[in-house]
């Protein structure tokens, strides 16, 4: 299971904690595949996707989340790995 699939499965606080642990491990072993490896660029990617997420949800035919959730936090962090 990859980061994106794991983020999709996050529903509870415990799921989110496990996801963060997995993300931390991956951050040390991705071998340069991530678009944003250092903390500053990772956070900037998270900020960019949070602003742009409406387009993502519309393009996949899903409603844009109105309220934050553990699952949405996980999606933001998963997107931050690759968002330019």
């Amino acid at each position: 299971m990859g980061i994106a699939e794991l983020a999709d499965a996050v529903e509870t606080r415990e799921d989110f904690a496990r996801f963060l642990h997995y993300l931390a491990e991956k951050s040390r072993s991705h071998g340069g595949k991530w678009e944003n490896s250092d903390l500053a660029s990772f956070l900037e990617g998270a900020s960019g996707w949070t602003q742009d997420m409406d387009g993502f949800f519309l393009n996949i035919g899903q409603p844009v989340p109105k309220e934050p959730s553990w699952g949405l936090f996980a999606k933001i962090l998963a997107a931050a790995c690759y968002y330019e």
Partner: protein
């Protein structure tokens, strides 16, 4: 009377005095353009005094020792012009064309109207198909350039039509010259229109990429952005943000500090016949530099990973991108 009135008149006077005057006979023959070998000299029937020259329809009078220029048309009259001092035979010349009576006129006019109509209607059809996810018409940020390109294409088409219509016997070279001129002066609009018909690039930067190679270089304006916004900072080989910005890379490309082939190719994915970039910052840098961008088609794994990680966030069908931090 011949073409040398005074000489001919003098020869006629001389012949009246002495009808065997060989010199006068020769002069008269020459002036009438009928001095074939031996004609007009003693022992050979002499030309009748005051005879009119034959009208020559080709550039060469086979009966004459002197080449005769083809008739020069002045209105509907043909005038014979002798070629003086030229002994070398000349090749036959094509008859001058009369544009007003060219049988190609209706064909050319129809071709011109057809091409011009195509130039107008084709982009309109394309335009009407462009809608966003909600079915609303998409506002093209390159609206002005878009219509300017097609206006140029219409003019080029009309020029070709005119060349066909008034080309006469030189219709093919004129069409060639017209196409070459259109290619030179209406570029890139005309090139885009032509290329689009052969499956390379659509004038609107969308659509027909059926002949696209797996890798190579492509017009960056034919590729869409996958993201709604991008950071203005590029990343280095380790994946960290580098000090170089999108604008600086564009400047380095323009001034030759960075060669296009050194830049990693932009990965492209096809979605509904449209080409999207997974590497939006490099695409934007090449757009700003107005240079063809190196590309390769993304692998299925790369495309899937990008989609799962929220890469496709564009809200305007990839027509433009917002730069964060500028």
């Amino acid at each position: 009377m011949g073409d040398y009135p005074s000489a001919a008149r003098a020869a006629q006077e001389a012949l009246k005095r002495d009808k065997d005057d060989a010199v006068a006979q020769t002069v008269l023959s020459l002036s009438e353009g009928r001095a074939a070998s031996g004609q007009g000299v003693k022992g050979i029937p002499s030309p009748s005094v005051g005879a009119q020259p034959k009208e020559v329809t080709a550039g060469w009078n086979a009966d004459s020792i002197l080449p005769v220029k083809p008739p020069v048309k002045a209105g509907r009259r043909s005038v014979l012009v002798p070629s003086i001092g030229s002994d070398s035979p000349r090749p036959p010349m094509l008859p001058a064309s009369d544009p007003g009576s060219s049988p190609l006129l209706p064909i050319g006019a129809a071709a011109g109207i057809g091409l011009a109509s195509y130039g107008v209607l084709r982009p309109k059809q394309t335009w009407s198909r462009r809608e966003d996810l909600g079915g609303n018409a998409v506002v093209d940020p390159e609206d002005d350039a878009y219509w300017k390109r097609h206006a140029q294409a219409v003019m080029a088409s009309a020029a070709i039509g005119a060349a066909v219509a008034f080309g006469g016997p030189w219709v093919l070279p004129r069409i060639g010259a017209g196409v070459a001129a259109a290619w030179r002066y209406a570029a890139p609009s005309f090139q885009r229109v032509v290329q689009s018909e052969f499956g390379a690039v659509h004038p609107s930067g969308s659509g027909n990429f059926k002949n696209l190679a797996p890798s190579g270089r492509i017009n960056p304006f034919a590729v869409r952005f996958s993201q709604s916004s991008i950071s203005n900072k590029l990343r280095d080989a380790a994946g960290n943000k580098s000090a170089q910005t999108v604008d600086e890379l564009a400047a380095d490309l323009v001034n030759g500090k960075v060669m296009p082939d050194v830049v990693p190719p932009v990965r492209l994915v096809m979605r509904d016949g449209r080409l999207f970039a997974l590497d939006n910052r490099r695409l934007e840098a090449f757009r700003r530099a107005k240079m063809e961008v190196p590309y390769r088609m993304a692998t299925a794994e790369e495309a899937e990973l990008a989609a799962k990680h929220g890469k496709f966030s564009t809200l305007n069908d990839g027509m433009s991108v917002r730069i964060r931090g500028e």
